[in-house]
């Protein structure tokens, strides 16, 4: 279990304090979550098998996927896969993510990015806002791809 409110949240509108006040439950395989409460927030590694989480989608309000390194792109594919499997709750990328990866995160189905204050200081808000126009210049859009987002994202 961990608190969710120590980081800085990045959205299309810029930085904001984390508004998620409740605890996060660490995903530890499907057996351990039969008693997952309604509206739970889940912490998952970027190696988590998305299919195993499907039975709990209805009870989960937020999934937070860890980015251990800015070189590790597994989280993007996991997010996309969760969306394709029907997850419509809030989806958050957390950890080592660069402002330059914000558009990738949004296009992969994340609603928001969580970074620590040190990174936020080195890569201030304007650098993230520079990439907040993630809907433009998107070849996937041009190819007629459907996007899948949660409550905080585009519904197209």
């Amino acid at each position: 279990m961990g608190r969710g409110n120590c980081g800085i949240l990045v959205r299309d509108t810029g930085f904001q304090d984390d508004d998620w006040r409740a605890d996060f439950v660490r995903w530890s395989g499907e057996d351990g979550h039969c008693a997952l409460p309604d509206g739970a927030a889940l912490d998952v590694e970027n190696t988590a098998p998305a299919e195993d989480i499907v039975p709990f989608f209805g009870r989960i309000a937020l999934i937070r996927i860890a980015f251990p390194s800015h070189m590790d792109g597994r989280g993007f594919s996991l997010a996309r896969h969760l969306r394709l499997l029907g997850y419509r709750g809030r989806l958050r990328a957390a950890g080592r993510i660069l402002a330059d990866q914000y558009a990738m995160a949004r296009r992969s189905g994340f609603d928001e990015v969580e970074i620590d204050p040190a990174l936020a200081e080195r890569q201030p808000e304007e650098q993230w806002l520079f990439r907040a126009d993630w809907r433009t210049h998107d070849y996937q859009e041009r190819l007629g791809r459907r996007r899948y987002h949660g409550a905080h994202g585009a519904q197209d």
Binding site: Q101, F130, T136, Y139
Partner: protein, 556 residues
């Protein structure tokens, strides 16, 4: 020819603006070098031995004259007056300054070019048959598929941080000129029994330190399923490809560790879901792209001038012999311009040479130029009546070397002269072999022979698929060259077999000559090429020729 629309144009300019900002942030310290590195790489900027190197994409090897002229301009304005064409249909500038790079990228964007994804752990420049749309043996033009893949892979949100780089090649002919079986994904355009267009999909091929020939993952993929299927392969690779060891991170290792059956099953599972995310729009786009690659309006004119020159001029005759390939229109020819003058650096072209080629394309070639993975330039559509004039102009510019497909038409990576991964020089070895072939004067008699040289085990010089492959290594501070025999990058793909201990730099040319002389003795007739003889007689006689002392000792 594909022409950018407003979307593509805005995209490349926006991308340059992003990179300009990234360079500024790096200089200010907002990005660490570790963070900046993947960003500069995915914009084509390498840090080499002596300087930065910018690798510019030539998508599926196709260029127009105005683009070639812009490359010449960039070479003169921001570099040392030349560029180097690579084995992946890119051009590299070896001496740009970091602060100039955004301006160079803007200059490229002005002519619908870019350096996007020519490096980094992402989907690289998609390559294709350099004779696409021209060869008489073609089933379908692979370039619309390659352009569709370029658009799909450009800035793909999931695949910019893969375990390792990812290379795709497409061939539209049963004759494989795109080395598809040595790519992460190789696509061959085929038709099924009822005549519908589709692809044979190969996965997990690659050269490098663990060379592998790709496995067929789908023997027939309908055309409309291409993007969802390729995306599924990439998704599975992104999820399960190894990230703990850079030498085991390519998809060829993923496929071989999991087995092609299990890998295929995972891909098919994803594919069932992915398919739903593609509406029909990508097929409409493919149709629009295809229309842009319609054949030019062919000139109808007599070809008498060609026949007359052929009868009159032996120099022209020998050029026609090696540098021309049959065109789908019998009145036309595909003309290859060799960038392998004996003793020159393979693949290098000066700004002046680029302008000559651009001028010829404009005047005689329906404004089309191709770059081959064999590091040559091609005028794909020349009416036969114009070939004598093209040849005369090439002679004047020192570009008429008649050696395409011969022993001196060597692929060589930049090696230790430029590259900071290299363990040995490759350019001087290529130069020495080519110079010696000219002295011998019998490379025409020898016939089809592909010599490929890499300056380290990363195999950028494709040595594994050379009929004679040469690999330069470092042995306790001394350059040492291993020789492999019998490699083949075509539809009969095979990896070369190592002959034995390596040779010192000075001994490579004599060793290659011993191989050639052995072949000349053993071939059944003048029409049996080196590779065919090797396949018939095997390694033994060649090994004996390479290591005469050992052979003599064994005989005693």
């Amino acid at each position: 020819m594909y022409r950018y629309d407003g979307f593509d144009r805005e995209f490349v300019h926006a991308r340059v603006a992003q990179f300009r900002q990234q360079v500024e942030r790096r200089i200010k310290g907002s990005l660490t070098e570790e963070e900046f590195k993947p960003l500069r790489l995915m914009n084509g900027l390498y840090l080499q031995l002596h300087a930065y190197m910018l690798r510019v994409a030539i998508p599926y090897g196709t260029l127009q004259s105005r683009q070639m002229r812009q490359l010449a301009y960039i070479a003169e304005r921001w570099d040392k007056g030349y560029g180097h064409f690579t084995t992946r249909q890119n051009i590299q500038f070896n001496w740009p300054r970091l602060k100039d790079v955004p301006d160079i990228l803007d200059a490229l964007a002005d002519v619908e070019m870019h350096a996007i994804q020519t490096s980094g752990n992402c989907v690289r420049n998609v390559t294709a048959d350099h004779f696409a749309g021209a060869a008489d043996d073609e089933i379908a033009d692979p370039r619309p598929t390659a352009e569709l893949l370029r658009q799909w892979s450009t800035d793909h949100p999931e695949f910019a941080f893969l375990p390792r780089k990812f290379k795709i090649a497409v061939s539209g002919s049963p004759i494989d000129r795109a080395v598809t079986r040595a790519h992460d994904i190789g696509l061959r355009m085929i038709r099924n029994v009822v005549g519908e267009p589709g692809y044979e999909v190969c996965v997990g091929g690659g050269l490098g330190r663990t060379p592998m020939i790709g496995s067929v993952i789908r023997d027939f993929l309908p055309e409309a399923d291409l993007l969802p299927y390729i995306e599924s392969i990439l998704q599975v690779y992104n999820a399960i490809g190894r990230r703990d060891n850079i030498y085991k991170a390519r998809i060829k290792i993923t496929v071989s560790e999991h087995g092609i059956e299990a890998f295929r099953e995972s891909v098919e599972q994803r594919f069932r879901i992915q398919r739903e995310t593609f509406a029909g729009e990508h097929q409409a786009l493919l149709a629009r792209i295809g229309a842009m690659f319609a054949a030019p309006v062919w000139i109808e004119a007599p070809t008498g001038a060609f026949d007359a020159a052929l009868a009159r001029d032996p120099v022209f005759r020998s050029f026609v012999d090696t540098n021309l390939h049959p065109h789908r229109n019998p009145d036309y020819a595909i003309v290859t311009i060799s960038l392998k003058a004996h003793g020159a650096t393979p693949g290098d072209a000066t700004a002046e040479q680029m302008r000559v080629i651009a001028g010829l394309a404009e005047r005689y070639g329906h404004d089309e130029i191709r770059i081959s993975h064999e590091q040559n330039c091609i005028l794909p559509h020349v009416h036969k009546r114009d070939v004598p004039a093209v040849h005369a102009a090439l002679r004047e510019a020192g570009l008429a070397t008649a050696n395409v497909g011969l022993a001196s038409d060597i692929i060589a990576c930049p090696g230790m002269d430029y590259c900071n991964l290299a363990t040995a020089r490759s350019i001087p070895i290529a130069q020495d072999i080519a110079t010696r072939m000219k002295e011998r004067g019998d490379e025409r008699h020898i016939g089809d022979l592909k010599i490929k040289i890499s300056g380290c085990i990363n195999a950028c010089g494709h040595h594994h698929v050379g009929h004679i492959g040469i690999l330069g290594l470092d042995r306790a501070g001394v350059e040492n060259y291993q020789i492999t025999l019998g490699g083949d990058g075509t539809e009969t793909a095979a990896l070369g077999e190592r002959a034995g201990p390596g040779f010192a730099a000075d001994d490579v040319v004599p060793a290659v000559e011993r191989l050639i002389d052995t072949y000349l003795e053993l071939r059944s007739d003048d029409d049996e090429a080196f590779l065919a003889t090797y396949r018939r007689v095997g390694m033994r006689p060649f090994k004996a020729a390479l290591y005469p002392d050992t052979a003599a000792a064994a005989g005693r």
